[in-house]
């Protein structure tokens, strides 16, 4: 196990960096300017951005990533859809965003009305097995079937999208990926699947869907266009708009979709205000919001009391699982409980590192994932976590945090 350059010989052998590109670019730049890159670095989904090496100005060869695999059965179908529409390759959480909206459209078609409660009851029915398999490729047919009251089983781009008791994905696959600087891409090396106790999903669900034709489905998209997550949010919004476009182009069963986009500005208060305006517009279900820091207040203050379904494509924090939500809150991204475990395993077994420090963005996501990683890494894999260091978004230099993370453990 090699020691860090700047951190001296006693530094950790590996680093876990949890964050977003917004500050990740700066952080990695500062890392490469104090270290010779001898640490093994593991990053989660938040930093899966093929542009990172280009932005950092380094190949980032010592970086390995994990991410909820956009490893659903129909990933490729989604990729080409996205590529065709926007002429660029999809980014992180785009497939989850697509799935989130697709599921809501299906549930809405099956429910036959723009009612949050009815949609909630349909969510598992159209997502979990039994019935016609619907994929991004045949979404239009799927919507038609749902509107006819048929059973459908959506198989998404990001996963099989089966919901468990909590409204979380019942199973999850994680990709282990590395940067390819030349291609400007993050390439999946391997996919690991985790199946929960009920991979087929579980939880309350309606037995049948009334369906209905010739109506307008309304759906809200509440994602960050500005603020810290702007760069992640923009492609997510694009992806979220795809299902609506598909349906509007084909008008199955006379259905059309009115998709309203609101910006959370990555801020809880702006997010809440935006959600309120979706409620005013009578939206029964919303794809959003992106980060847990926004998702939790928006769900608590707006979605749950107003009986509106919220299905976040990217809020992975543990707290969302445990919300007292009357079953209105779903998500298509798996909980970080799983990812923390995967990361610990990758660190210990694949990268063969036994001493680690973590550097995490100071919010729900970073804090909980870092904690989860640390506890699994120490308890299950006998590793040692020197320290967990938080960093704040928007600093102009992370050299000192990087120094701290690379330094020897407190004695």
């Amino acid at each position: 196990i090699g020691g860090g350059g700047g951190g001296g010989a006693d530094g950790p052998g590996g680093l876990v960096v949890i964050g977003y590109p917004e500050s990740g670019i700066q952080l990695f730049r500062d890392y490469y300017s104090v270290s010779d890159g001898s640490e093994e670095i593991l990053v989660p989904d938040g930093l899966r951005d093929g542009a990172m090496p280009g932005q950092v100005g380094n190949d980032m060869e010592n970086v390995t990533g994990t991410a909820p695999a956009a490893g659903g059965p129909n990933q490729d179908a989604f990729n080409s859809l996205f590529q065709d529409e926007y002429g660029s390759s999809p980014g992180v959480f785009t497939s989850q965003s697509y799935d989130s909206v697709a599921l809501q459209l299906l549930a809405n078609a099956a429910a036959g009305e723009n009612s949050g409660t009815a949609i909630r009851d349909q969510m598992r029915r159209i997502a979990n097995p039994e019935g016609m398999t619907v994929t991004p490729n045949n979404l239009v047919e799927g919507v038609e079937a749902a509107a006819n009251g048929d059973d459908v089983n959506y198989q998404g781009a990001s996963s099989a999208t089966n919901f468990d008791q909590n409204g979380d994905p019942a199973s999850a696959a994680y990709a282990i990926w590395e940067f390819n600087a030349d291609e400007g891409a993050a390439e999946t090396q391997e996919v690991q699947s985790f199946e929960g106790e009920n991979p087929e999903g579980s939880g309350p669900s309606a037995d049948s869907g009334p369906g209905g034709s010739d109506r307008e489905i309304s759906v809200g998209i509440l994602l960050p266009e500005t603020g810290d997550l702007a760069s992640v949010g923009a492609p997510m919004i694009q992806a979220a708009q795809l299902p609506a476009m598909q349906v509007n182009d084909a008008n199955p069963a006379g259905l059309s979709v009115n998709a309203q986009v609101e910006d959370t500005q990555t801020s809880p208060s702006a997010g809440t205000a935006a959600a309120e305006s979706l409620i005013s517009a009578g939206v029964p279900s919303v794809c959003g919001s992106a980060s847990s820091g926004v998702n939790v207040p928006v769900s608590q203050q707006v979605f749950i009391p107003n009986e509106v379904v919220g299905c976040s494509p990217s809020s992975t924090a543990l707290s969302v699982t445990n919300l007292d939500d009357n079953d209105y809150i779903f998500r298509t991204a798996p909980s970080d409980r799983l990812q923390g475990r995967v990361m610990a395993q990758v660190m210990a077994e694949r990268l063969e590192v036994s001493s680690v420090s973590t550097l995490y963005v100071n919010n729900d996501y970073g804090q909980q994932l870092s904690n989860r990683f640390a506890s699994v890494f120490e308890d299950t894999f006998d590793g040692e976590v020197y320290r967990q260091t938080a960093f704040n978004i928007g600093e102009s230099s992370y050299s000192s945090v990087v120094e701290t993370a690379l330094s020897a453990p407190d004695s």
Binding site: G282, Q300, N362
Partner: protein, 445 residues
Amino acid sequence: MSVRDDLAARIPGGDTGLILSILLIVYAAYVLVGVGLGYSLRGQFNTIAVLTFYIAVFAMLALALNLHWGYTGLFNIGIVGFMAIGIYVMAFVSKPLYQPGGAAQVGGLGLPIIVGMIAGTVAAALVGLVVALPALRLRADYLAIVTIAMSEIVRFSFLSGEFEQFELFGTRVGFGGGSGLILNYTDPLTAFFEVFGLGGAYLGLVDAFGALVPNNPKPVVDSLVYGLLLLLFVAAYYWLLKRTGESPFGRVLKAIREDEDVANSLGKDTNRFKTKAFMLGCGLMGLAGVLWFMRSGAVTPNTFRPRITFFVWIALIIGGAGSNTGSVLGGAVFAALLYQGPRYLKNLIDAALPNASAPSGFGPAIAPLVSNVDPTPLLLYTIDSIRQLQLVFMGLVLIWLMHNRPEGMLGHRKETAAGIPLTASQARDKTAETDGGTTGGEADE
């Protein structure tokens, strides 16, 4: 030169009339926009409730700031820090005890909500005291920098892992660090009605409302009622601050704003007056923070960035520093036009031009204009980016105001700092008859 030659004089009903008529116009405009957007009745009610909420919180904050700046000349740009303290302390006190398994990572002290609100207000006032003790000796612009730095220190403290969780009285409490706090106490509104034993009556009202909004009327009624409650708070703030200003106490504050040495040499303990006024204002800001966020389900430290402080300043300046009426008006106008307005404007435009898809960036937006003089993409991009441009617009409004109406919408109205009207005619009359002492007493009612 008349001090009170202003807008209110031209509107029947004076100040109240002015405020009411402006509110009326604002609400009417929103209802119209709602009609344009095809909102259901529920949507309309919801819009009104949300609008009322923001009008109320900005009015409260502007009023509190007016005490600092308008009356005492204390340039406080750390408002958001006091709000953060208010809501965080309130959450700390009122959150239920920690229970493993819930969404909340930490618990609170489990005390009643009202205790939490008082604690939040008091805590903000006390932090005000801590800032005041050293900082009030500084020049206005230094005080500004100190207060904004303080608000950032507060934010960093709530962000920090050190206070994330700790043990107190054997239970796990804390401020949640970067993940913030989940506000898992009973809904304050419910709690409020239950305190007065009105829980049942309130549910009756909700049911009655079901006639208008059949499906799940509770959240709509909740927000409407909460909005109204906040307006009551605004009225209370107004009343309190008006009395504060129109009194010998307020007079000393005004004197401090003008020249502290003079007030001092006339035997006024200026530091005490300043500290009191500062603490009162900070407490009111803390309470406004509580009222703003207490029903928001969760709070995170990064909500409390300086931007909100500047919003409050814009609100105050729109209305006119020095005037309580102006502060309320400024809060209302800011909330309706600058804060919430652009969102509705964009939705309206979107509704009018449904299928226009905007380019994804400035590059693709401007290229057609340059290459073949096609401004449409740029226009679409502009509309699509209205949320960013909203802040540009706020900036321009601020500049315009400072250029053209630095004294605010209402014109120059430094309200007289005395419990009785200080006019020549009145006093002149009184020199004739000795007993005129009670005539001027009702100035503030």
